[in-house]
Protein backbone atom coordinates (compact mmCIF):
# COMPACT_ATOMS: atom_id res chain seq x y z
CA UNK A 1 0.00 0.00 0.00
CA UNK A 2 1.40 3.40 -0.97
CA UNK A 3 0.83 6.38 1.22
CA UNK A 4 1.78 9.98 0.83
CA UNK A 5 4.48 11.25 3.17
CA UNK A 6 2.09 13.64 4.87
CA UNK A 7 0.01 12.39 7.77
CA UNK A 8 -3.30 10.83 6.92
CA UNK A 9 -6.03 11.64 9.40
CA UNK A 10 -9.15 9.60 9.67
CA UNK A 11 -12.29 11.64 9.18
CA UNK A 12 -13.46 13.29 12.39
CA UNK A 13 -16.41 11.63 14.10
CA UNK A 14 -19.47 13.85 14.29
CA UNK A 15 -21.30 12.79 17.42
CA UNK A 16 -24.30 14.40 19.08
CA UNK A 17 -23.38 18.04 19.79
CA UNK A 18 -19.62 17.55 19.56
CA UNK A 19 -17.17 16.85 16.75
CA UNK A 20 -14.32 14.63 17.87
CA UNK A 21 -11.03 13.87 16.18
CA UNK A 22 -7.59 12.42 16.88
CA UNK A 23 -4.86 14.77 15.58
CA UNK A 24 -1.08 15.00 15.68
CA UNK A 25 0.97 18.13 16.24
CA UNK A 26 3.61 16.94 13.78
CA UNK A 27 3.36 15.49 10.30
CA UNK A 28 5.54 12.49 11.18
CA UNK A 29 6.90 10.58 14.17
CA UNK A 30 10.63 10.49 14.87
CA UNK A 31 12.18 7.29 16.31
CA UNK A 32 13.17 7.68 19.98
CA UNK A 33 11.39 11.01 20.40
CA UNK A 34 8.13 12.07 21.99
CA UNK A 35 5.33 13.55 19.96
CA UNK A 36 2.13 15.22 21.01
CA UNK A 37 -1.25 13.92 19.92
CA UNK A 38 -4.53 15.58 20.73
CA UNK A 39 -8.17 14.71 21.12
CA UNK A 40 -9.86 17.62 19.40
CA UNK A 41 -13.37 18.37 20.68
CA UNK A 42 -15.49 20.87 18.76
CA UNK A 43 -18.54 21.56 20.91
CA UNK A 44 -21.77 23.05 19.63
CA UNK A 45 -22.60 26.32 21.39
CA UNK A 46 -23.81 25.77 25.01
CA UNK A 47 -22.53 22.16 25.14
CA UNK A 48 -19.55 21.03 27.18
CA UNK A 49 -17.47 17.98 28.07
CA UNK A 50 -15.64 17.37 31.33
CA UNK A 51 -12.30 17.81 33.14
CA UNK A 52 -10.55 15.07 35.15
CA UNK A 53 -12.81 16.07 38.07
CA UNK A 54 -16.19 16.77 36.48
CA UNK A 55 -17.67 18.39 39.63
CA UNK A 56 -21.13 17.72 41.04
CA UNK A 57 -22.25 15.69 38.02
CA UNK A 58 -20.92 14.66 34.62
CA UNK A 59 -18.10 12.35 33.65
CA UNK A 60 -14.45 12.92 32.67
CA UNK A 61 -13.45 12.17 29.08
CA UNK A 62 -11.60 8.85 28.97
CA UNK A 63 -9.13 7.49 26.40
CA UNK A 64 -8.11 3.87 25.82
CA UNK A 65 -5.26 3.50 23.33
CA UNK A 66 -4.54 0.79 20.78
CA UNK A 67 -0.91 1.32 19.76
CA UNK A 68 1.75 -0.68 17.92
CA UNK A 69 4.29 -2.50 20.08
CA UNK A 70 6.80 -0.14 21.70
CA UNK A 71 4.59 2.96 21.46
CA UNK A 72 3.29 4.44 24.69
CA UNK A 73 0.68 7.13 25.28
CA UNK A 74 0.57 9.11 28.52
CA UNK A 75 -2.43 10.45 30.42
CA UNK A 76 -4.39 13.43 29.15
CA UNK A 77 -2.44 16.64 29.93
CA UNK A 78 -5.56 18.52 30.99
CA UNK A 79 -5.81 22.18 29.97
CA UNK A 80 -7.37 24.55 32.50
CA UNK A 81 -11.13 24.00 32.34
CA UNK A 82 -14.01 26.42 32.82
CA UNK A 83 -16.46 26.43 35.69
CA UNK A 84 -20.10 25.81 34.73
CA UNK A 85 -22.98 26.67 37.06
CA UNK A 86 -25.94 24.40 36.33
CA UNK A 87 -28.74 25.62 38.58
CA UNK A 88 -26.51 25.84 41.66
CA UNK A 89 -24.59 22.66 40.85
CA UNK A 90 -21.04 23.12 39.60
CA UNK A 91 -19.11 21.40 36.85
CA UNK A 92 -15.63 21.76 35.34
CA UNK A 93 -15.02 21.23 31.66
CA UNK A 94 -14.55 22.52 28.16
CA UNK A 95 -16.67 24.27 25.57
CA UNK A 96 -16.04 25.66 22.09
CA UNK A 97 -12.90 24.32 20.39
CA UNK A 98 -10.87 22.30 22.87
CA UNK A 99 -7.88 20.04 22.50
CA UNK A 100 -6.80 17.48 25.11
CA UNK A 101 -3.07 16.77 24.52
CA UNK A 102 -1.42 13.41 25.14
CA UNK A 103 2.29 12.64 24.91
CA UNK A 104 3.21 9.74 22.64
CA UNK A 105 6.58 8.03 23.14
CA UNK A 106 7.93 6.67 19.88
CA UNK A 107 10.30 3.69 20.20
CA UNK A 108 13.87 4.09 18.87
CA UNK A 109 13.24 0.93 16.86
CA UNK A 110 10.53 2.57 14.72
CA UNK A 111 11.59 2.32 11.05
CA UNK A 112 11.78 5.52 9.00
CA UNK A 113 9.85 5.13 5.78
CA UNK A 114 7.15 2.99 7.38
CA UNK A 115 3.72 4.09 8.60
CA UNK A 116 2.07 3.42 11.92
CA UNK A 117 -1.59 3.10 12.80
CA UNK A 118 -2.59 4.80 16.03
CA UNK A 119 -6.07 4.35 17.44
CA UNK A 120 -7.93 5.43 20.53
CA UNK A 121 -11.33 4.66 21.95
CA UNK A 122 -12.69 7.89 23.38
CA UNK A 123 -15.61 7.99 25.79
CA UNK A 124 -17.15 11.25 26.84
CA UNK A 125 -20.28 12.84 28.18
CA UNK A 126 -21.51 15.99 26.45
CA UNK A 127 -24.02 18.13 28.30
CA UNK A 128 -25.94 21.37 27.95
CA UNK A 129 -28.46 20.84 30.70
CA UNK A 130 -29.28 17.43 29.32
CA UNK A 131 -26.45 14.97 28.74
CA UNK A 132 -25.54 12.52 26.00
CA UNK A 133 -22.81 9.91 26.39
CA UNK A 134 -20.55 9.34 23.40
CA UNK A 135 -18.06 6.76 22.31
CA UNK A 136 -15.89 6.62 19.18
CA UNK A 137 -12.89 4.75 17.89
CA UNK A 138 -10.59 7.29 16.27
CA UNK A 139 -7.67 6.33 14.06
CA UNK A 140 -4.67 8.18 12.73
CA UNK A 141 -1.96 6.97 10.38
CA UNK A 142 1.42 8.68 10.57
CA UNK A 143 4.72 8.14 8.76
CA UNK A 144 7.93 7.45 10.67
CA UNK A 145 10.66 9.84 9.54
CA UNK A 146 14.05 11.14 10.63
CA UNK A 147 12.62 14.65 10.96
CA UNK A 148 9.11 15.96 11.52
CA UNK A 149 7.51 19.30 10.78
CA UNK A 150 4.62 20.93 12.62
CA UNK A 151 1.32 20.21 10.92
CA UNK A 152 -0.01 23.67 10.01
CA UNK A 153 -3.60 22.44 10.32
CA UNK A 154 -3.30 21.92 14.08
CA UNK A 155 -0.51 24.31 15.00
CA UNK A 156 -2.86 26.89 16.50
CA UNK A 157 -4.91 24.29 18.39
CA UNK A 158 -1.83 22.75 20.02
CA UNK A 159 -0.42 26.18 20.80
CA UNK A 160 -3.72 27.10 22.48
CA UNK A 161 -3.76 23.85 24.48
CA UNK A 162 -0.20 24.61 25.65
CA UNK A 163 -1.11 28.15 26.58
CA UNK A 164 -4.07 26.75 28.54
CA UNK A 165 -1.84 24.58 30.72
CA UNK A 166 -1.44 25.59 34.36
CA UNK A 167 2.04 26.72 35.33
CA UNK A 168 3.73 25.11 38.32
CA UNK A 169 3.48 27.42 41.31
CA UNK A 170 7.19 27.11 42.05
CA UNK A 171 7.38 30.40 43.92
CA UNK A 172 4.56 29.49 46.34
CA UNK A 173 4.08 26.74 48.89
CA UNK A 174 0.67 25.21 49.42
CA UNK A 175 -0.62 23.51 52.56
CA UNK A 176 -4.12 22.25 53.21
CA UNK A 177 -5.88 21.70 56.50
CA UNK A 178 -8.99 19.74 57.38
CA UNK A 179 -10.85 22.08 59.72
CA UNK A 180 -13.89 19.91 60.31
CA UNK A 181 -16.60 21.39 58.14
CA UNK A 182 -14.13 23.18 55.87
CA UNK A 183 -10.94 22.43 54.01
CA UNK A 184 -8.61 25.43 53.96
CA UNK A 185 -5.71 25.76 51.56
CA UNK A 186 -3.01 28.30 52.33
CA UNK A 187 -0.69 29.48 49.56
CA UNK A 188 2.37 31.31 50.87
CA UNK A 189 5.01 33.15 48.85
CA UNK A 190 5.84 36.43 47.22
CA UNK A 191 3.11 38.17 45.23
CA UNK A 192 0.36 35.58 45.13
CA UNK A 193 -2.33 36.30 42.52
CA UNK A 194 -4.63 39.03 43.77
CA UNK A 195 -7.33 39.21 41.11
CA UNK A 196 -10.88 39.65 42.28
CA UNK A 197 -12.10 36.73 40.16
CA UNK A 198 -9.74 34.22 41.76
CA UNK A 199 -11.03 30.64 41.71
CA UNK A 200 -9.64 27.19 42.48
CA UNK A 201 -10.54 23.72 41.19
CA UNK A 202 -9.47 20.65 43.15
CA UNK A 203 -8.44 17.51 41.25
CA UNK A 204 -9.34 14.96 43.93
CA UNK A 205 -12.97 13.87 44.37
CA UNK A 206 -14.90 13.57 47.66
CA UNK A 207 -12.78 16.15 49.48
CA UNK A 208 -14.24 19.61 48.85
CA UNK A 209 -17.57 20.95 47.67
CA UNK A 210 -17.50 22.49 44.21
CA UNK A 211 -18.91 25.97 44.90
CA UNK A 212 -16.23 28.67 44.50
CA UNK A 213 -13.99 28.88 47.57
CA UNK A 214 -13.89 31.88 49.86
CA UNK A 215 -10.68 33.73 49.12
CA UNK A 216 -8.85 35.73 51.77
CA UNK A 217 -5.86 37.79 50.61
CA UNK A 218 -3.04 38.37 53.07
CA UNK A 219 0.50 39.70 52.92
CA UNK A 220 2.34 37.24 50.69
CA UNK A 221 -0.34 34.68 51.44
CA UNK A 222 -3.66 33.57 50.15
CA UNK A 223 -6.24 31.37 51.85
CA UNK A 224 -8.82 29.40 49.89
CA UNK A 225 -11.56 28.03 52.08
CA UNK A 226 -13.77 25.28 50.68
CA UNK A 227 -16.83 23.67 52.22
CA UNK A 228 -16.01 20.04 52.88
CA UNK A 229 -17.54 17.59 50.45
CA UNK A 230 -20.80 16.01 51.62
CA UNK A 231 -19.29 12.73 50.40
CA UNK A 232 -16.00 13.08 52.29
CA UNK A 233 -14.94 9.73 53.71
CA UNK A 234 -11.25 10.31 54.35
CA UNK A 235 -8.52 12.84 53.68
CA UNK A 236 -6.00 12.18 50.92
CA UNK A 237 -2.34 12.86 51.71
CA UNK A 238 -2.41 15.97 49.56
CA UNK A 239 -4.66 18.09 47.40
CA UNK A 240 -3.79 19.08 43.86
CA UNK A 241 -5.54 22.19 42.74
CA UNK A 242 -5.59 24.75 40.00
CA UNK A 243 -5.43 28.33 41.16
CA UNK A 244 -7.13 30.38 38.48
CA UNK A 245 -7.09 34.11 37.88
CA UNK A 246 -9.59 35.04 35.18
CA UNK A 247 -11.78 32.86 32.98
CA UNK A 248 -10.49 30.14 30.59
CA UNK A 249 -9.22 30.32 27.88
CA UNK A 250 -7.79 33.69 28.94
CA UNK A 251 -7.07 32.65 32.50
CA UNK A 252 -3.73 32.61 34.27
CA UNK A 253 -3.54 29.35 36.12
CA UNK A 254 -1.08 27.66 38.45
CA UNK A 255 -1.00 24.12 39.74
CA UNK A 256 -0.54 23.85 43.49
CA UNK A 257 0.28 20.68 45.41
CA UNK A 258 -0.83 21.06 49.01
CA UNK A 259 -0.08 18.38 51.63
CA UNK A 260 -3.22 17.93 53.75
CA UNK A 261 -3.20 17.73 57.53
CA UNK A 262 -5.96 17.62 60.12
CA UNK A 263 -6.50 20.51 62.49
CA UNK A 264 -5.25 19.86 65.99
CA UNK A 265 -8.16 19.02 68.30
CA UNK A 266 -9.24 22.14 70.12
CA UNK A 267 -8.20 22.24 73.81
Amino acid sequence: MLLAAASVAAAPAQADHVGIELVSESTALVPGRSATLGLRLVHEPHWHTYWINPGDSGLATKLTWELPVGFRAGEIIWPVPQRFDVGGLFNFGYSGDALLPVQLDVPASAKPGSNVQLAVEARWLVCREECIPGKARLALELPIAAEAATDPRWQAAFAAARAAQPRPAAQWTGTAQDNGDRIDVKVVGANPPHGTALDAFVVQRQVVGYAPPQVVHGANALTLSFAKSEYFTGAPAALDLLLIDGVAPDAHAWSVHAPLSSAKPSP
Binding site: D56, S57, G58, L59, V86, G87, G88, L89, N91, R123, L125, C127, E129, E130, C131, I132, P133, D181, R205, Q206, A211, P212, Q214, A227, E230, Y231, F232, T233
Partner: protein, 203 residues
Protein backbone atom coordinates in the same frame (compact mmCIF):
# COMPACT_ATOMS: atom_id res chain seq x y z
CA UNK B 1 -23.45 22.15 67.46
CA UNK B 2 -24.77 25.04 65.48
CA UNK B 3 -22.92 24.13 62.33
CA UNK B 4 -25.46 25.12 59.75
CA UNK B 5 -25.98 28.66 60.96
CA UNK B 6 -22.24 29.14 61.43
CA UNK B 7 -21.57 28.26 57.84
CA UNK B 8 -24.41 30.46 56.72
CA UNK B 9 -23.07 33.41 58.69
CA UNK B 10 -19.60 32.89 57.26
CA UNK B 11 -20.90 32.79 53.73
CA UNK B 12 -22.96 35.90 54.19
CA UNK B 13 -20.03 37.68 55.80
CA UNK B 14 -17.87 36.88 52.81
CA UNK B 15 -20.49 38.00 50.34
CA UNK B 16 -20.86 34.54 48.79
CA UNK B 17 -24.38 33.33 48.24
CA UNK B 18 -25.49 30.62 50.61
CA UNK B 19 -26.00 27.15 49.17
CA UNK B 20 -29.53 26.68 47.91
CA UNK B 21 -29.88 23.61 50.11
CA UNK B 22 -29.18 22.28 53.52
CA UNK B 23 -26.93 19.31 54.05
CA UNK B 24 -28.12 15.99 55.29
CA UNK B 25 -25.62 13.90 57.21
CA UNK B 26 -25.36 10.18 57.75
CA UNK B 27 -26.26 9.41 61.37
CA UNK B 28 -28.62 12.41 61.58
CA UNK B 29 -32.42 12.43 61.19
CA UNK B 30 -33.46 12.60 57.54
CA UNK B 31 -35.68 15.59 56.72
CA UNK B 32 -39.39 14.94 56.37
CA UNK B 33 -41.18 15.87 53.17
CA UNK B 34 -44.70 15.94 51.85
CA UNK B 35 -45.03 15.26 48.14
CA UNK B 36 -47.74 14.11 45.78
CA UNK B 37 -47.15 10.78 44.11
CA UNK B 38 -48.00 9.78 40.55
CA UNK B 39 -51.48 8.67 41.70
CA UNK B 40 -52.25 11.98 43.42
CA UNK B 41 -51.68 10.59 46.92
CA UNK B 42 -49.69 12.51 49.54
CA UNK B 43 -46.51 10.80 50.61
CA UNK B 44 -44.43 11.79 53.61
CA UNK B 45 -41.29 10.27 55.08
CA UNK B 46 -42.79 10.30 58.59
CA UNK B 47 -45.68 8.03 57.57
CA UNK B 48 -43.11 5.26 57.06
CA UNK B 49 -41.57 5.48 60.53
CA UNK B 50 -40.71 1.92 61.60
CA UNK B 51 -39.76 0.93 58.04
CA UNK B 52 -36.55 1.28 56.10
CA UNK B 53 -36.95 3.81 53.27
CA UNK B 54 -34.88 4.07 50.10
CA UNK B 55 -34.98 7.34 48.15
CA UNK B 56 -33.97 7.29 44.49
CA UNK B 57 -33.66 10.53 42.49
CA UNK B 58 -34.89 10.01 38.93
CA UNK B 59 -34.95 11.68 35.53
CA UNK B 60 -36.22 9.17 32.93
CA UNK B 61 -34.26 10.85 30.12
CA UNK B 62 -30.87 10.91 31.85
CA UNK B 63 -28.47 8.37 30.31
CA UNK B 64 -27.12 7.34 33.73
CA UNK B 65 -30.68 6.51 34.81
CA UNK B 66 -31.09 4.74 31.47
CA UNK B 67 -28.07 2.56 32.28
CA UNK B 68 -29.69 1.25 35.45
CA UNK B 69 -33.24 0.86 34.07
CA UNK B 70 -32.19 -0.34 30.61
CA UNK B 71 -30.19 -3.14 32.22
CA UNK B 72 -32.93 -3.99 34.76
CA UNK B 73 -30.54 -3.22 37.64
CA UNK B 74 -32.80 -0.63 39.24
CA UNK B 75 -36.01 -2.66 38.90
CA UNK B 76 -34.28 -5.70 40.41
CA UNK B 77 -33.10 -3.68 43.41
CA UNK B 78 -36.58 -2.19 43.82
CA UNK B 79 -38.28 -5.61 43.64
CA UNK B 80 -35.90 -7.23 46.14
CA UNK B 81 -36.12 -4.32 48.56
CA UNK B 82 -39.91 -4.00 48.51
CA UNK B 83 -40.31 -7.80 48.82
CA UNK B 84 -38.29 -7.52 52.04
CA UNK B 85 -40.62 -4.82 53.42
CA UNK B 86 -38.49 -1.83 52.48
CA UNK B 87 -40.30 1.28 51.21
CA UNK B 88 -38.75 2.51 47.94
CA UNK B 89 -39.64 6.04 46.90
CA UNK B 90 -38.52 7.35 43.53
CA UNK B 91 -38.38 11.17 43.46
CA UNK B 92 -38.40 13.41 40.39
CA UNK B 93 -37.21 16.95 41.20
CA UNK B 94 -37.15 18.12 37.58
CA UNK B 95 -38.69 21.57 37.32
CA UNK B 96 -41.60 22.11 34.96
CA UNK B 97 -40.41 22.25 31.36
CA UNK B 98 -36.99 20.76 32.15
CA UNK B 99 -35.76 17.47 30.76
CA UNK B 100 -37.43 14.48 32.43
CA UNK B 101 -40.15 16.52 34.14
CA UNK B 102 -43.25 14.33 34.44
CA UNK B 103 -46.83 14.72 35.60
CA UNK B 104 -48.61 11.86 37.37
CA UNK B 105 -49.86 10.24 34.17
CA UNK B 106 -46.45 10.58 32.57
CA UNK B 107 -44.81 9.00 35.61
CA UNK B 108 -47.27 6.08 35.55
CA UNK B 109 -46.60 5.55 31.84
CA UNK B 110 -42.86 5.54 32.56
CA UNK B 111 -43.28 3.04 35.43
CA UNK B 112 -45.30 0.73 33.14
CA UNK B 113 -42.82 1.09 30.29
CA UNK B 114 -39.72 0.21 32.30
CA UNK B 115 -41.43 -2.21 34.69
CA UNK B 116 -40.36 -0.22 37.75
CA UNK B 117 -41.14 -1.79 41.14
CA UNK B 118 -40.94 1.12 43.56
CA UNK B 119 -43.48 1.70 46.33
CA UNK B 120 -44.36 5.12 44.90
CA UNK B 121 -43.11 7.71 42.39
CA UNK B 122 -43.05 11.17 43.97
CA UNK B 123 -43.28 14.47 42.10
CA UNK B 124 -41.15 17.32 43.44
CA UNK B 125 -41.39 20.02 40.72
CA UNK B 126 -40.42 22.82 43.13
CA UNK B 127 -37.31 20.89 44.13
CA UNK B 128 -38.10 21.30 47.85
CA UNK B 129 -37.38 17.70 48.81
CA UNK B 130 -34.41 17.56 46.44
CA UNK B 131 -32.89 20.66 47.98
CA UNK B 132 -33.52 19.55 51.55
CA UNK B 133 -31.65 16.31 50.82
CA UNK B 134 -29.00 17.98 48.66
CA UNK B 135 -29.83 15.61 45.81
CA UNK B 136 -27.35 16.45 43.06
CA UNK B 137 -27.52 13.77 40.43
CA UNK B 138 -29.82 11.26 38.81
CA UNK B 139 -29.58 8.70 40.17
CA UNK B 140 -28.70 9.77 43.74
CA UNK B 141 -29.58 7.27 46.46
CA UNK B 142 -30.40 7.55 50.18
CA UNK B 143 -31.21 4.88 52.76
CA UNK B 144 -33.13 5.86 55.92
CA UNK B 145 -33.56 3.42 58.81
CA UNK B 146 -36.66 2.54 60.90
CA UNK B 147 -35.92 5.43 63.27
CA UNK B 148 -35.78 7.95 60.43
CA UNK B 149 -31.99 8.27 60.58
CA UNK B 150 -30.00 8.61 57.34
CA UNK B 151 -27.71 5.61 56.93
CA UNK B 152 -26.47 6.08 53.34
CA UNK B 153 -26.08 8.89 50.81
CA UNK B 154 -24.34 8.68 47.47
CA UNK B 155 -24.13 6.91 44.18
CA UNK B 156 -26.03 3.86 43.08
CA UNK B 157 -22.78 1.95 42.60
CA UNK B 158 -19.01 2.23 42.60
CA UNK B 159 -18.25 2.77 38.89
CA UNK B 160 -19.20 6.16 37.44
CA UNK B 161 -20.14 5.52 33.82
CA UNK B 162 -23.06 5.22 31.43
CA UNK B 163 -21.88 1.78 30.34
CA UNK B 164 -24.03 -1.23 31.28
CA UNK B 165 -20.90 -3.38 30.89
CA UNK B 166 -19.58 -1.90 34.16
CA UNK B 167 -22.51 -3.14 36.27
CA UNK B 168 -21.14 -6.62 36.99
CA UNK B 169 -17.84 -5.16 38.24
CA UNK B 170 -19.43 -2.47 40.42
CA UNK B 171 -20.48 -2.65 44.07
CA UNK B 172 -24.22 -1.96 44.24
CA UNK B 173 -24.40 0.13 47.41
CA UNK B 174 -28.12 0.09 48.27
CA UNK B 175 -28.53 -3.73 48.38
CA UNK B 176 -25.31 -3.87 50.42
CA UNK B 177 -26.61 -1.31 52.93
CA UNK B 178 -30.00 -3.05 53.17
CA UNK B 179 -28.37 -6.45 53.78
CA UNK B 180 -26.11 -4.99 56.49
CA UNK B 181 -29.03 -3.26 58.20
CA UNK B 182 -31.07 -6.48 58.10
CA UNK B 183 -28.22 -8.43 59.70
CA UNK B 184 -27.66 -5.75 62.35
CA UNK B 185 -24.17 -5.09 61.03
CA UNK B 186 -22.41 -1.76 60.76
CA UNK B 187 -22.95 -0.19 57.32
CA UNK B 188 -19.61 -0.58 55.56
CA UNK B 189 -20.08 2.16 52.96
CA UNK B 190 -22.22 5.02 54.32
CA UNK B 191 -21.18 7.66 51.80
CA UNK B 192 -20.02 7.62 48.20
CA UNK B 193 -19.69 10.06 45.36
CA UNK B 194 -23.03 10.28 43.54
CA UNK B 195 -22.64 10.25 39.78
CA UNK B 196 -25.00 11.07 36.96
CA UNK B 197 -26.80 13.98 35.34
CA UNK B 198 -27.44 17.13 37.35
CA UNK B 199 -30.88 17.20 38.93
CA UNK B 200 -32.80 19.64 36.69
CA UNK B 201 -33.91 22.11 39.34
CA UNK B 202 -35.68 25.31 38.39
CA UNK B 203 -33.63 28.42 38.95
Amino acid sequence: MNFRSTVFALLVACGISAPAWAKVAVGEPAPDFSLTDSNGKTQTLSQYKGKIVVLEWNNPECPFVGKHYGSGNMQKQQAEATAAGVVWLTVNSGAEGKQGDLDGAGANAYIAKVGAKQTAYLLDPTGSAGHSYGAKTTPHMYVIDQQGVLRYTGGIDSIASTDKGDLAKATQYVPQVLAELKDGKAVSVTTSQPYGCSVKYGS
